[in-house]
Symmetry: D2
Subunit: 445 residues, 4 copies
């Protein structure tokens, strides 16, 4: 099994799956348990509460599905949409491409908005489409927050702005809520609708006045827990991530979080689904047993610990750390005289950097050699940028010295394959940034 | 996290998830890895070869999907059938009920053949349906090998007999194969079809002459690796299991194995699917990278070790061990003066025993008390037998003394809740059987 | 490595090393750390405080030495005694024999007080010796609290009584202390002695009036954390245990706890020692770095968790649990028609039961067969009772159903080797006791 | 427990305890076992055979004692020497100082040969002493192969040369052995002495003709498994190491290897010892049960895996890797404009580098800051060089990129504390060396 064993630690810098913290490994090192005993639901309850924090939502409903990111995509789409629904989707790299492929195979009518790989989503096109769509034929906007193949981060706040003035809406909603709640007692005495149904109507009504009703679906697989993400503030309707990315767990949980509007949509969505059906979860949430089918006990304990570690570090500190790691990586790339695949500063990603190599070099050789000589795992270039870029993942459970070791390794490999890099140059640039910007570890002050 | 900790080991006797062997826990205790490095595909290749052995198939194609048993069900159905297809399905307990629910929600036209809970599938009804179906409107037979809710094992060999003379077919196929292979050289020199395509046509043609063409889909979740199961010999088209059952792993891999006929059917099946689509796997199998999306590295290493342990013990010895554990449990139940929920000896299950309690006792109390007082996890009665049975799971990584400890615990709990059991009686009956039938541990002779 | 692997859990019933709780295994599953960083001393400080609780001492000073029980013995002796010192030591089984052998090789002048194996220490002889020793030539009494070879527990309170009226002494000391402390300010202004030195003198002086000055050294290896043990109340001067016994850790820490009187004695003890020298520890205690040489990081974290679990269960509950397990085992032995090696009820041990077998049976065969057929590890008979007894260890991280599984296994093995046991008889007797006496698991009420 | 947790991996660069390989952590993640079952002796037998390879001895007898390096020292001394024996010992740093302290406390008559810290053992003084000692009053030479406090490696081959022409001796011995063995049959028919006793006499006799009879005792704690060490070729009589050093295990096994001459000496050595007595081990070796007291099951399995990994990599490759890591570290130190504490190239250590800091910097601040800001553990300066050096341990389970990450961290910390280092300079120097000298990982070619 360990026939590829090399001495020392492996240096894992693919943009997922990422390095697991030792306390998480420990927490998962356990026998199975009866998930119908009182212990597992009690823990699950805390997880559902706490997992909302990583989405920055209070009104969302999370689902922790035993699947991967691909399954989480499918869950987001099939629960909210019906075959034939028109959706707008942005093609900017391999992962948005795969999601679009899924959308088409699930029989949605996809307006593909394509950009050159290395650019962000073309939001001007979105703006026109929204402006033209007075009939509200667009049912959803699907966007990858961070395209892992090219290291491009899209501007979700801007998407929100295009879809409608969410902020003003929310303001108003708060102002109105006073009156609204005052009249609730009276209202409910004459009505059999639940409070949530009532509130949802109110919500939809209001939003019609202020914004396009399309659902806002976000793939946050390589962003959530690492980049700034604000589900409630940005009015995201479905956001999703996978356990093996910035949460730093093994693969196995697709976490999907649905806004009240998305939950409402799920009631009429006609896409066929069973395994991914939110409704089965909601039934068990009500029963307090939480699980329609067997979860991985080990991953639940792992998630509990992963969340504890994130909150202990502080979510804002986690994001700041990723910002440092991303910035330092880009400074190194610059020092090497190489170009970032990301074409403009506005889109640079703090979780993954795709590095363009000169045409006389095959980037696949870099990845192979890094693994064979230095036990360093880098990401390959995918699809149309295969051979042209290699990728450095800098997300999840990672710190400054790990990254500097990786950058030193990349330098040696660049030299190995014939690129005339000045050894130490990238490390020097990154170190200078770190030395000025890295805070003390809070628990050690 | 361990707020329900009790001293000593927990006694896990639910029929899944089951006890994980220590070597498997060790194998899974590891950091993530790049699944695109050469190491993971190399291991995956051995897994795909070896996993076929637990299905007793040489011609099947396995898929190790990051999902649960419920997802494995969905994969089996959506890859082989189209909405509206007529299928025959047997309702004999909670898990067959849930599968039927899934079949209906996936828009198949299900002939539900119901039995009283505690009985096996009504194969007489199947026989009539097959006999009447000269037009071949039945596209699939769906059957749960072992119904975990009632402890009922169905007779799959008999299903095979009803569907057609598979054995004779196979005999003939062997006889014909001589001629067939002789002519291959000639044949292929004139043709561009692959051998497999050619063989598949041949297969379909032959089988049309000898048996009903309905696909034979089997839920082997609580049987495979524990009960006698023979995919090839019984002509099963899709068989499936989950990692947390007799394989004794954590939840997280749904293993689905497809016959050549099922693979052929998947080419024309119109059910919408993406995450569960076999075709995505087949593409990556051809590439030699194996994974359309990120697998759990930990579960792959765990599966590798679980298979190694099974083969070291010997699959036949594993099945014999389950037979011993099942028999001993039933002898204990008899000694206690209680009835097995399974109504006839022909259906008794060697992986789970559902025990009927007197009407003056609520079986839920037994399960609660076992957990609270003796750290013993038993299975609840489900749905229409809730409160009426409790279940003893005796599958997976388990030995004689563990079971005897459990039986002693059940006796004490029975007394706790007011049933006048003679303490030691069940243990005595089970021990007598073990003392006569348990072989030495082979590695220790 | 696992060439002796058998399916299911192993059943470990030797009287040490014992079963490790899963949370402890998890805590120890970690990389090395710099033991000179601030983290390790901070944890060590809590361990030294908390470890005193398992000795029931507030005045003792504990040493957590990277060694085994044999090393802990050596530490206790060499730090308090000088070559040629007369000591009284009780030979009642293999482990007391080994300690005596060590005492003699360390050049002490040992009065060996021998009992028949199966009997406790002959305290009448001790009484005469103490009475005769008006010249105080006896420097220490060495006694094994629980002889693991025969399952005999000695009466330490009675030893205390023979050595002198410790309780009265302590009473007086408390009464006097008022006056004593009042005069301290005055005293220290004229003196350079430390408070402890001063207090020690006072202590010695007082005790000379009330009790024989011999040091009271106790091997608590198979008693501490399992049997009632009261270092302060019984005036024990050195008590010791090993991590792999009732603390339920791996082997590797010998814990030795010294009374103020023992610490005082260490200043003049002339036995040559370096590795085991308390003084090296005391120096590092003062520095706050705690470790004169490298400790096992893993065992420190393991000990932290083991103590947490013990305190969570409650030390009195732990002792009550061992009492239940011991009593139930003895009831089973009786039901089998066999005799306990322990000759009288006053000495029965709640941590290990040595079972005498009929002369026509070789007990070694029982141990071998248990391991080879049922994955059950029992203790061999040692030295002069080799072949005549087998031992059931029932200490540490163990619960009722585990023991019942073991007892069922013993019954089958007894039958295997030709003893006409009634299967189920021992389990019935033990179950009846448990069913009446086992409380609910507190965390699950 | 993890209150000092920081994100990402810790960077452990103290010269012990060192980083544990993941496969070793896995192997140790297990419950206790009965060490008297057939499994543990069977494994122990392989360990004793294989552990000799790391000492490069075929004639030595190893002892795996549950203790630390300090205990291993004590075992080496007390088994071979008697109180009052004259020994020559070299004081070159904190660890040789501690060993000398132990030697004196064990009542040996120590000729301390002191060097300035940063220099190797003064072998000229040894030469004179040996030359003068025609009466053979010197019973042993004690030398630390690699002084961990100063990063100084002593020349053991030269010590051998001074003690006598070992190589010629061995040559002769081989030539004579032919005659010797021919006469064995005859000899043994008249004699009751064992072959080993006979051979030992022969050995002693011969050696008297060719070399000084002093025992050659070597502390290989921070050298064995990392530096070139040849027990047989250099005629070392006792060599020792600790599990937490280059073997990359947790603390807990002191491995001591004795030559036939040392074993012979142990028969007459009068130092008092019990726990450390080789004779107790030898008795159990003969019985085939191997253990006089309880070993750590976990460490045995860990050692088994550690040895497997070492042999898989190849001991010579392991040594070459340490040579690369050491060289690269020294190049970095030079690039930073700092001095190595080691005063001459002849003594440089490939397992630890002690770096002298300018007088205006307190090296303790460097160590503190590295841990607090970058999760980097460096070694403190000890005793008379406290505050003046910090140490980089580069031994055990370590690779190039880990070291480069560490060097980058040291650079930033140097800048933090006011030393005008050029960031990236050390990394560049080390990288250049690695890029030219690091082979591909053999298992990945």
């Amino acid at each position: 099994m360990d026939y590829v064993y090399g001495p020392g630690r492996n240096h894992l810098f693919v943009p997922g799956p990422v390095n697991i913290p030792e306390p998480v490994l420990r927490a998962m090192n356990r026998n199975n348990e009866d998930y119908r005993s009182p212990a597992v639901p009690a823990m699950t309850k805390t997880l559902l509460e706490d997992v909302k924090k990583i989405f920055k939502t209070t009104s969302g409903t999370p689902f922790m599905i035993p699947t991967t990111g691909t399954g989480a995509w499918e869950s987001a789409l099939t629960n909210t949409l019906s075959p034939g629904d028109r959706i707008v989707s942005f093609l900017i790299g391999q992962f948005s491409l795969l999601w679009i492929d899924q959308q088409q195979r699930l029989k949605f009518n996809v307006d593909v908005v394509e950009s050159e790989w290395g650019q962000g989503a073309n939001l001007d096109v979105l703006e026109s489409k929204i402006a033209e769509d007075t009939a509200h034929t667009i049912k959803a906007i699907c966007i990858v927050h961070n395209e892992t193949a090219t290291g491009v981060t899209n501007n979700l706040a801007k998407v929100r702005k295009i879809l409608g003035r969410a902020t003003e809406y929310l303001q108003t909603s708060v102002n109105l809520s006073h009156i609204f709640f005052l009249s609730l007692d009276t209202y409910f005495s004459y009505s059999s609708v639940t409070f949530m149904e009532c509130f949802s109507c109110f919500f939809i009504e209001l939003s019609d006045n202020y914004m396009h009703p399309a659902l806002f679906l976000v793939d946050g697989v390589s962003s959530i827990c690492a980049l700034d993400f604000r589900m409630d503030e940005w009015g995201v309707d479905v956001a999703l991530t996978g356990s093996q990315k910035a949460l730093s767990l093994p693969t196995g949980i697709g976490i999907v979080c649905a806004s009240p509007k998305a939950l409402e949509a799920s009631k009429s969505a006609k896409s066929v689904r069973v395994f991914f059906d939110w409704n089965d979860y909601l039934k068990f949430y009500k029963l307090g047993t939480y699980w329609p089918y067997t979860p991985s006990i080990q991953l639940l304990y792992g998630l509990r610990t992963a969340l504890d570690l994130l909150f202990e570090e502080g979510l804002d500190n986690v994001i700041a750390r990723h910002s440092r790691l991303g910035k330092a990586t880009r400074l190194a790339v610059e020092a090497w005289g190489l170009k970032n695949c990301t074409q403009s500063e506005e889109w640079v990603s703090d979780t993954v950097t795709a590095v363009l190599v000169p045409t006389y070099i095959d980037s696949t050789e870099i990845v192979k050699r890094a693994w064979k000589r230095y036990n360093l795992s880098l990401g390959l270039g995918l699809n149309k940028i295969a051979g042209k870029v290699f990728r450095i993942g800098h997300l999840g459970n990672l710190n400054e010295l790990q990254l500097l070791g990786c950058l030193a390794g990349v330098e040696m490999v660049l030299k190995d394959v014939g690129y005339p890099v000045k050894l130490g140059s990238g490390v020097a640039a990154a170190s200078a940034y770190f030395q000025n910007n890295t805070p003390l570890i809070p628990s050690r002050i």
